[in-house]
Symmetry: C2
Subunit: 452 residues, 2 copies
Amino acid sequence: MTAAEQGPTAGRTGLSRRALLGGGLLGAAAVGAAVGAGVTRATADEPAAPPAPGTYPFTGEHQAGIVTPAQDRLYLAAFDVTTKDREDLVALLQRWTTIAARLTQGQGAGPFGPASGPYDAPPDDTGEALDLPPAGLTITFGFGRSLFVTADGTDRFGLADRLPDALVELPHFPADNLDPARSDGDLVVQACADDPQVAVHAIRNLSRAAFGAATIRWTQLGYGRTSSTSTAQRTPRNLFGFKDGTANLKVEERSAVDEHVWVPAAAAQADSHDSAWLTGGTYLVARRIRMTIETWDRTSLREQEALVGRTKGEGAPLSGGTEFTEPDFAVTGRDDQPLVALNSHVRLAHPTQNDGVRMLRRGYNFTDGNDALGRLDAGLFFLAFVTDPRTHYIPMQNRLSRDDGLMEYLQHTGSGLFAVPPGVPDGSLVLGSDGTPITTAHSPFVGEALLA
Amino acid sequence: MTAAEQGPTAGRTGLSRRALLGGGLLGAAAVGAAVGAGVTRATADEPAAPPAPGTYPFTGEHQAGIVTPAQDRLYLAAFDVTTKDREDLVALLQRWTTIAARLTQGQGAGPFGPASGPYDAPPDDTGEALDLPPAGLTITFGFGRSLFVTADGTDRFGLADRLPDALVELPHFPADNLDPARSDGDLVVQACADDPQVAVHAIRNLSRAAFGAATIRWTQLGYGRTSSTSTAQRTPRNLFGFKDGTANLKVEERSAVDEHVWVPAAAAQADSHDSAWLTGGTYLVARRIRMTIETWDRTSLREQEALVGRTKGEGAPLSGGTEFTEPDFAVTGRDDQPLVALNSHVRLAHPTQNDGVRMLRRGYNFTDGNDALGRLDAGLFFLAFVTDPRTHYIPMQNRLSRDDGLMEYLQHTGSGLFAVPPGVPDGSLVLGSDGTPITTAHSPFVGEALLA
């Protein structure tokens, strides 16, 4: 056991994470070990302490960060796997699982060494979140199609026979202008938190733990969640200045979430490959949608509202009522034209116009500086979790790309589709003597059913 | 008077900003006009309401956003002036002043039109902050050297004889790797707030109001302020994982702020040009400092602490004590080497090593995605306000660039120096009938003493 593994627990007990680092590793008195929510104790049997405020369990039937009420900030990274060795991939996922379990409970990324004493090795944790609370951090992992089979058909890790039918190559949608450097990836990690520094810290430490096995392909920072995912949340606004996600699937709608988000066992039975590993998981659709802000800002309020199909202030459908009034697509006004225009976003995206399918949207606004003409590179980083992208995303996006009047002000510049496996079961993580998760050759990991 | 100018006041009275937009412009009942803090009423004489929580006065002897306790988020934009007409420049600064006064008080950017009715013109405000509180927003304006005289000596706006001697071209420092597209600019606008969406909204609406007069040259988003500027604030951490700004000038140190931040009247007397317009102002040094995160993360804790000169956990100087213990540069350890190394950052940056000069640092961490090799493009966006960059920045930066061991892990990739004029006097803004600031041909503006 290394010195680091003997260190005190941080975070959830009200201790600063600092105790995990530097002098604290050796110098601080050991305190009663506490265990993160959803993590059971392997070496002691006191009851686990209740989770700290702003702490979500890491383990469970499903991964966190999906039905978790959307936090305010996002940092998402897609990775290319650089190793050709399946064992290295497994080891990476083991390390990631342990680190994610620790970070989400407010602990540092360690213990991972240092093997030769704390001062003559890099610190276990990079440190910039040492004094910060867990801030509602969730970390969610997913697998891209290229992990299973490359574009030229190579089966890199012996996973081709596990490729779910629904993990398709997304079609080219009208008006797509995708940058390959902002698209796809073998692995994806979504970190959401109420403090961007906590989310960035998480991705940085996971990226660090990927050294030699995977490298970052692209990343996206987001702020101002653009969808409510809970009835307890106020509807936020996107950078068009409109409320976004009024009709979003809410986590309180349990049966709708079951129907539209999670992959059912029946999907595996119908699959041409062995995709049972994904039962209880979901699919993540990620689309970087740049808005032509400057053009939009010169558009009249009448035009803006007509394109969206809702009022800008209240967010009420143009057919009348208040924000949560259902749009009436039949009611007409002058010249017998529908009040909610045929090419309006709210009409084209509405479940009644899309065979009843719904998505759990969990997107964020982004602002990535400006282009050479001084125009903001800003927009909506669309994230949605769906049970099957073939039924729950592609048809609607084809319709929107073709007919939505808003598309004149939108450009899809990045894209990814990822299979998100179910969670790591409660009580399965391997814990060190201090009660916090550690990595061993037998550590469970996110996606274990795929790679086992 | 336009319809918009007759609209109700929003924000500070507890009304949503929404009332300023769309149907609210015409539909909402007028409410008792309220006036932003620091803004006096021209058309009514009730006492101004107290400022809402998280609202800082816009007007005053100095601009806000300097000694204001550092907010958590930054969006900063540098602009190129595109007009050649001095009158257009004045009009831009008038519009910016009014908009900034409104936004910082939680109001929308309007009233600026719409001239032909609210529905058939673009909305006064872009809308994405409609439901958000003021969030401590401050907006701070500055002027780059190129506004006074271009590199080839052109006097663009008849301002060459107003160029302060201290508004120099910064020298090339050792290890600079500046990107012109991230450097300089005729104008700078610093928006700080506790909510990034509020800061982005501010820059966007100011940028919109610059149409035809100026365009964005570069922008920088920042989070996790890297300096405390008040004794009431906890010392934050930079992306090296170390506490940053422990010894920063604090706003409570009034006489030190007077000495090291504000431009005294004596400066104008000694100036070779007429720079009296800047008395009571300051200089803003902006440096985008990329950190080679991945290399740093593989460095031993011993090495990291030696380079910084402080412990990573507590932030105490290596000469002993706790975070706020003054470093003892004389005390030695093994081999008679000083415990705080000669090339340590804390030693080289310390006032005692820099003729006693101090800076009001107000920087932020940044993460701008990743480069083609998957390395984080992240670091510290250094912002400092100083009374004279020739005494308070350049000598120290020369020393740091040459000798600081940390420089191995740093690269300066962007740079700007701006003269920050004093504030718009309390009570000077022109107010509409609803008591909120409006722009007229006689509006006062930030920098009026320069351009009048």
